[in-house]
């Protein structure tokens, strides 16, 4: 206190003796000013993002939650309060519960198939082999392609009788299903999954390759000096060091599989006989095609909760290890 009051006096008197004492509070004041300015800057830069986030993320989420409590056709005032009826309807609807199962099949199949496949390709493409650049491009191109375009192309390829793929399969003497791969309920989901794998393997390979760049060459050299084979080096060194990348990929794949929509919508529209319905195709058709916006809202809230709980659980059980390691 005294120092602060002394400061102006000191300045006005210009006495050298008090300078040391007066300087300290002045610095603190400046620091506080700087901090305040910094905070203002942060606020200035973050506000537009926060506002957009509130408008396009928070508001829709709350709005969907509110909508899920009403019977609403999509126009006119939202007045017919239904309580939790829409949730009961959604959870009792076999089409929706099947959709949840389909989503989880895709989640687990992605991990079971794309992970080993992506890992193997990444390890292979990390070696100095001829045509590596070309191979990397080939694997990565599908990921760059817009999902809608990829879907339309695959839909044409998979056309029964006339599609190139069917013709190829039957030309080597293999049987083709009557309704085609997409039109046969027992095969449709598997077919969609194959197309998804073709589309998203590139992302896994890219991530894993990036992860592998982080494995120090010294480790490889040291292992080789010790007489380890290429395979042993990969198994004991590369893959374990790649674990954080793999865990991140699994997370992305999981969330992506839960939100699966575009490819299914274009290839099958959720059919045949609901064999490929996902939670999102369900809520879209309930909302925009059937005008049951309340049910669509309830389905979207259920999807949100499933995604949220899974993300939290994964963060807590699996990813925490990585953040801890960093700390």
């Amino acid at each position: 206190m005294t120092e602060v009051t002394a400061a102006p006096a000191a300045t006005s008197s210009g006495a050298a003796v008090t300078r040391g004492g007066a300087d300290a509070p002045r610095v603190t004041g400046r620091r506080q000013g700087a901090k305040r300015r910094q905070r203002l800057e942060i606020l200035l830069f973050v506000t537009p993002a926060l506002a957009l986030m509130a408008l396009f993320v928070l508001y829709p989420v709350f709005s969907a939650a509110r909508m899920s409590l009403y019977n609403w056709k999509g126009f006119g005032p939202m007045v017919d309060f239904a309580g939790l009826d829409n949730y009961t309807r959604v959870l009792r609807d076999e089409v929706f519960t099947d959709a949840v199962i389909h989503n989880f099949i895709i989640v687990f199949a992605s991990i079971a198939v794309q992970l080993p496949l992506g890992l193997a390709l990444a390890l292979l493409l990390n070696r100095r082999i001829r045509g590596r650049g070309l191979l990397r491009t080939i694997v990565f191109v599908p990921y760059v392609l817009a999902e809608v375009i990829a879907g339309v192309v695959w839909f044409q390829l998979l056309q029964p009788r006339t599609g190139l793929l069917e013709q190829a399969v039957s030309s080597v003497g293999l049987p083709v299903p009557d309704q085609g791969f997409l039109g046969t309920p027992d095969l449709a989901l598997a077919t969609v999954f194959v197309v998804l794998t073709w589309k998203y393997l590139g992302l896994a390979v890219l991530l894993f390759l990036a992860g592998l760049q982080g494995v120090p060459d010294e480790l490889h050299e040291a292992a080789q000096l010790d007489g380890a084979s290429w395979w042993q080096v990969q198994r004991r060194i590369a893959v374990p060091l790649l674990a954080p990348t793999i865990r991140t990929w699994v997370f992305l794949s999981m969330i992506g599989s839960l939100q699966l929509f575009d490819m299914v919508w274009i290839l099958t529209g959720g059919g045949p006989a609901n064999a490929t319905t996902t939670m999102v195709t369900y809520l879209i058709s309930m909302g925009t095609q059937r005008s049951n916006y309340g049910i669509a809202g309830a389905a979207s809230v259920v999807l949100f909760l499933i995604g949220f709980v899974m993300a939290l659980a994964y963060q807590f059980l699996v990813l925490r290890r990585d953040t801890k390691a960093d700390a």
């Binding site: 999509g74 939202m78 809608v148 039109g183 309920p185 939100q259 059919g271 879209i284 909302g287 925009t288």
Partner: protein, 431 residues
């Protein structure tokens, strides 16, 4: 043309906000925003010539006859119009004059207070249109005036029929089955259906129901949403019989209705199947799907859905639907006058001369020049009654559930009884 906009809208909404359906909802303001000035906004889907130019002329003529009034014409592709209308219904900010498809959809709009009652101000036109307006009436009041009304039937390739040795168009289901056998024997796929879009498959059940059930049963079902009459199950059984003859194109469960060469319409247009059940829009759709723009050209044939043995329904009754002009609540003064003018002898005759659809004003019917449309017009006008597409009649919620379960029957995953059960279950939600 009909209804194909839904998919596009869904994709749009779906990709915008994956987690929520809100992006496509949200509006609560039910008051239509009519403009204060003297400008009447009119949305229509005659996006190509000669229709577009014709409607511009119509608007100009109306402006001249009503000094001080301006008509702002917005011509859109059908799909775009459907999408924009859906958004307009949600926001409550509707154009003054727009298109309604009738039935339950219209009833929902009426209930939400979005549409004007035209019963009094358009009494003269309504009188002239007669029974044609019935699909646009709610509780005895008329809310929109139909300007084009068509019927659904089998479009076929006369050359392929000839090649298979079929001399006469089938009139009963037995004759249809015989034709299917002949076509198959000749190595021709008999029928294409876009069951991927569901409604084309549903049209089969609508027709078997129309042939199996009497008019009074159907009329009662439309209002009471009660489908307990045996004839509805019979409809599914007849359809199962048809499915057992395996008449459809390979992969019909995922085939789209009318988008691209591999769609149901595309297959018919490119000589890959012999016939398809579709509405009056089919020649136009096929023209857009062939390189020469001619569709099936002179090989275009049409026959009505066959009669069902033992069915109570009139074999002359047809399934159909149409487009009508409606005026939104709070629209600019003069909007109703514009709609009345659009249904006048003069404008409807021009509409017919330009082959823009099947006119509803009797004074204009003789002006249709396209032979295929003229044939349909005869069938339509000879029909004792025209059943509006069930999904339109019941509204999207009940109609959608009905279409879904019919598609399941096509995939051999549902019984005729299931269709009735699923429809009644969805109807419960409405009560």
């Amino acid at each position: 043309m009909r209804r194909s906009g839904r998919a596009a809208l869904s994709v749009l909404c779906g990709s915008a906000v994956l987690f929520t359906a809100t992006a496509c909802g949200g509006g609560e303001d039910s008051t239509a925003a009519g403009s204060d000035d003297n400008t009447i906004t009119w949305w229509h889907n005659s996006n190509n010539e000669p229709g577009r130019g014709y409607y511009e002329q119509v608007a100009a003529d109306f402006e001249e006859a009503n000094p001080g009034t301006e008509v702002e014409v917005v011509a859109m592709a059908h799909e775009d119009m459907v999408d924009r209308l859906a958004a307009a219904f949600q926001s409550g900010d509707l154009p003054d004059v727009y298109m309604e498809r009738g039935g339950g959809e219209l009833a929902d709009h009426v209930e939400a207070g979005l549409v004007q009652d035209l019963s009094e101000e358009s009494a003269e036109a309504i009188d002239k249109l007669g029974g044609n307006v019935s699909g646009w009436q709610v509780d005895g009041q008329t809310y929109a005036l139909p300007f084009s009304l068509g019927v659904v039937g089998f479009w076929y390739n006369t050359a392929l029929f000839e090649q298979a040795g079929i001399t006469e168009a089938p009139q009963t289901m037995e004759e249809l089955y015989a034709a299917i056998d002949k076509l198959k024997a000749a190595g021709i796929t008999p029928i294409s259906v876009g069951a991927g879009d569901k409604w084309p498959a549903a049209h089969y059940w609508y027709y078997t129901a129309l042939r199996a059930c009497g008019q009074d049963v159907l009329e009662d079902a439309v209002t009471s949403l009660d489908f307990t009459d045996e004839c509805f199950v019979q409809a599914g059984e007849v359809l199962s019989e048809l499915l057992d003859t395996e008449p459809f194109n390979p992969g019909f469960l995922t085939t789209p209705a009318q988008e691209g060469a591999s769609s149901a319409s595309g297959l018919l247009a490119t000589d890959q199947v012999a016939m398809e059940l579709a509405g009056h829009w089919e020649p136009g759709v096929m023209q857009g799907l062939t390189d020469d723009g001619a569709g099936l050209g002179e090989n275009t044939g049409w026959f009505a859905f066959p009669a069902i043995e033992g069915g109570d329904g009139d074999p002359e009754a047809q399934l159909g639907g149409g487009d009508a002009w409606a005026v939104s609540t709070g629209a600019t003064d003069g909007s109703v006058d514009l709609v009345n003018y659009l249904l006048s002898d003069e404008v409807q005759t021009g509409f017919a001369e330009n082959d823009m659809g099947l006119p509803t004003n009797p004074a204009a019917t003789s002006a249709v020049s396209d032979p295929a449309l003229a044939q349909l017009l005869e069938v339509r006008d000879a029909a004792p009654y025209i059943q509006l597409y069930f999904d339109t009649a019941f509204g999207q919620s009940v109609g959608g559930a009905m279409n879904d379960s019919i598609a399941l029957l096509f995939a051999d995953q549902a019984t005729p009884q299931d269709i009735v059960d699923a429809t009644m279950q969805a109807a419960e939600l409405e009560k």
